[in-house]
Symmetry: C2
Subunit: 216 residues, 2 copies
């Protein structure tokens, strides 16, 4: 079986058993995350910036103010490393050395493209909003022409990517299993709530169900 997303750059070097290259696995991790880290090079030095994102098919989108330093740099067509990391648990082994974490991460490489087409830009903005809370786009005021112009949207094709996943209990050195040390996994999850309604609400609008029953 070939892995078109697997390249020399995306091949997982450390713990190669943890590497996965199928699109579905990568898309699932991207869809569950809320924040990505965008790495790029300015004057030979690395910059990493956390930001929101969305996915439509085989592209991820990031956005920001047209005036932002990150977007101005990325618009010049430079290389980007885009990562999303989901932390699933603390792996507590019998030795300090074998402590680890359960996680799912994605790394994408590529050159970001400026989305100039108005329709694609609006679709991407919808994807950002829907990525955060499904159904939210239909509930809120859509971007007006001024807001659209002030927003820069960049697309990064998912063509060179890998996922790295660790699951399961600690793996200790054989001779350590006899030690009287508790070992196991402490799962971590992201919990939402309680909802805080904006004190500036002027009318009595109920909290929508997609917010009230939010789960990630």
């Amino acid at each position: 079986m070939t892995h078109p997303l697997k390249t020399d750059r995306t091949q997982v070097k450390r713990a190669p058993k943890r590497g996965q290259y199928d699109f579905e696995t990568i898309a699932q991790i991207l869809d569950e995350g809320l924040v990505c880290q965008v790495g790029f090079v300015v004057e030979g030095r690395p910059i990493v910036i956390p930001t929101a994102y969305g996915r439509i098919g085989d592209k991820v989108y990031i956005h920001g103010a047209s005036a932002s330093r990150m977007l101005k740099s990325l618009l010049t067509g430079i290389d980007v490393c885009f990562t999303v990391t989901l932390l699933d648990g603390l792996v507590l082994a019998r030795s300090a050395y074998h402590h680890s974490m359960n996680y799912r991460s994605v790394v994408l490489f590529g050159k970001a493209e400026n989305v100039m087409d108005g329709d694609e830009k609006m679709t991407a903005l919808k994807a950002f909003t829907e990525h955060v809370v499904k159904g939210r786009w239909e509930e809120v005021r859509s971007p007006n022409p001024q807001e659209l112009a002030a927003t820069c949207v960049l697309a990064l094709p998912i063509t060179e990517a890998s996922a790295k996943i660790r699951t399961g209990p600690p793996i200790d050195a054989e001779e350590d299993y006899e030690l009287p040390v508790w070992a196991g996994v402490l799962p971590l999850t992201t919990e939402a709530g309680p909802v805080m309604t904006d004190p500036k609400m002027t009318s009595d609008v109920p909290i929508p169900n997609n917010v009230l029953k939010y789960r990630r």
Copy 2:
């Protein structure tokens, strides 16, 4: 008041009101996070890798297998951008445009130094373990000479750094406050548990309190 950690590179450019440069604020965010993102440049292109870390005083430490690509690259004394991001909530505005997130993030710039001194290396390894679960170091088997040799520890001084923080309700356009759209904040927290004891436990060791009552 001067901000020694604030430099041209760490000055927050977008939404400068959110920028903070005092050491205490930065240290608090670093101590709460579990995973950092390390950005560096290889052959002119950016690489961002999620990894564990620890802090002692005004240094952060990362580690990995001596054979790892990341650590080999960093050992050559190249520039690093180190970030930690804590997501505190979804900020749901009346317009799509004003949606945001509440977060606390730290960005550090610098050159990582290889920790050669055996005592500092052991102290850093203790910091990694204690960073994940306080009190764990005393409960587990310490690194032996082989494990110490196989582990590479890098130090990054906290000398050029900034924090960026957003809190509070959405800030909508003045004319949108009259819209019949629910707006507010959905707080997000990291929850731990239920604890999963390793099925390979050979003796009946109780779950330690620092794991059972874990809070981040």
